[in-house]
Amino acid sequence: MARQERIGVFVCHCGNNIAGTVDIERVVEELSHYPGVVHVEDYMYMCSDPGQELMRKAIQEKALTGIVNANCSPTLHQRTFRRVAEAEGLNPYCVEIANIREQCSWPHADDKETATRKAIAIIKATVEKLRFNMALTPTVTPLTKRVLVIGAGIAGIQAALDIANGGYGVVLVEQDIGIGGHVMQLAGTFPSLEQPDSLIASRLAEVASHPLVKLYTYAEVEEVSGYVGNFDVKIRQKAGYINRGRCNACGMCLEKCPVLVSSEYDCGLSQRKAIRLPSPAALTFHPVIDVEHCLHFNGSQCQACCEVCPEGAIDFSEEDTFVEERIGVVVAAPGYDLLPVGQPEAYPEDPDIIDGLKFERILSATGPTNGEIRRPSDGKVPREVVFISCVGSRDPEHGVPYCSRVCCMYVAKQALLYRQAVPEGQAYIFYMDIRSDAKGFEEFVQDVMDEGGILYLRGEVSRMFRDGDKIKVWGVDTLIGRNIEISADLVVLARAMVPRPTTRELTRKLNIASDAHGFLTEAHIKLRPVESLTSGIYLAGTAQWPRDLPDTIASAEAAASKVLSLFSREELLHEPTIAWVDEEICSGCEQCVANCTYKAIEVDKRSNVARVNEAICEGCGSCAAICPSNAVQLKNSTPRQFFEIIDVAAG
């Protein structure tokens, strides 16, 4: 290993932050006759222009081969100083930070002597580490400028459109038969109440016909391999048993099919056939046969659809097909579900106790009652409707601890839409707090309250039970401190928003993390909110966290702009401080392989030694830690360097 013999040390005062505690003069004095150190200098603010100028001058005049900057945490200015060095022709990986602020002057502010001794030890230890640093250059990998977007809800659609309109190809994969996701089920959208068809129909049409978007509906991502810049994806196109090329969307098969199944789109409020079409607004008119319910696939001879189809498009022998696509990055937008019935506590199962999405269908002009408000049990127009907020949300003991963020708003919206449709009706809203914190939201909620016929009750509900024609709701109004009983015609539960159960499987395929609830995890909640921890995989929409439409679309646009900024480069640069295998020592035991979360190391079958994929390795060091023979090491963080550090620190 090369030894850095002409080392410069720069000690920063950080105003009084360091100099107020650490005796800078003594530090400089101590370091100035330390082996290998040929230049020591201190300055008020090293990160300032004059500070950087001192570095530049010293690099040139003393022909430095390495630098230790003693100052704040490397997360703040390591980049700054490495850039200065690079511009002067010094390899940036020969610049190290000795953190004498967060790890020294701040915690020891009351003890100058200890702080000074510790600062000296930290700097000397860093000099020892630097001595064995190698000059490194970032790895370069080619970049395929094509994107896989998973999920064609509004999040996926928006991300796909932004990227395609930026001039790059998009492969958009949707598991359902139509696109749009849950937004297609809504009756109107707060705060401005547009109906989804007027709000997003143009986006749906644009994505379905965009020349740069390859849309796969009724399809799933089967397998993803590779790494940022070069992923290979295998897509399963599920058999729909109807030849898409031949079908002319006449709908005769739908008429003839004898099987009725409860409709997913209408949340069970209407029925569909075993041969089915997506929602009317979803713009893909290809029917598919649902094998779970189709008689033909369940032991009967039924051929009704087949017999009536004028184009002979029905083909029971069709099988799932697979397509392979090469892409550079992925945007995951698999969306949300509502907490299932029965959770968190047993509100009775009753046709007139429904969840928010079902009520959207009842309110919707495209719904099973064509927008007339009729309750599921007997079709009566409900005169008194009780809404219950936070069902399962904010309930760490019985449900989920988080706030679902959209229900306060949609409950207000639904109460308003209900009152517009049934002007003599009365709505009651049980709530704990009203969360209406975005642009125009609080004003919207206040308008709803002012409307009349909508009573907010501050408190929760303990029980509800059927009493003849009514559902009795027992709750409390904590504002007057009295228990309340309401005889309702219909009860709407604002169930918690949760990730789709299938999202876990997707996280495994993509090798990305999800949290305890199953929401996709971002790299950093504040600083990197739309990136996953796996490079090249971005997140959008409600699969990451409960979001309304404005937030969902903003997150999708953010993910798309991350992709576009990556695509503005021709190739990818990857940090070189990654794992390295000494092939002489490696015995091919594979312990490192099992330990690498990024799947970046594998044992080559022929030579039986481990190989690091430089494009994937994140330099986390798990392999180096587990290797029984020290055959894997992290570049510039070798055991030898750490032993030197420990020697100085302990001595």
Partner: protein, 135 residues
Amino acid sequence: MRLEISLGRLRNEFVAKITELSGQDINLCYQCGKCSAGCPMSFIMDLLPNQVIRSVQLGLAEDITSSRTPWLCASCLVCTVRCPKGIDIASVMEAVRQIALRRSEDFIDPAGLERDTVAELPPIALVCGFRKLTG
């Protein structure tokens, strides 16, 4: 005992009367409590001003008519000027009093007052008493 809340109760005659007499839209109140926070008489009230408004929202006629609050209200208008939703709470208090007064029940019988008592009382107290406590 659970309080039954229903369409009928929320839109009962009492609520309509208060609305008419006070000219206030009670729905506007979002129960922030600003009125009660500033009320100089709240320390002796059994229902705070915001609770009076809440009780109107819930149609709780009996709670309000049996409360001392409207009678303790000094009509100082602090609540009215401070309400963020522009509700004239003092007018609601007045409406409650009006409803009681219109029942024409006399709580003071001038003829039954002792001569000495009358002599001791400041005249304004007598005027207030007749104004608030007689039909």
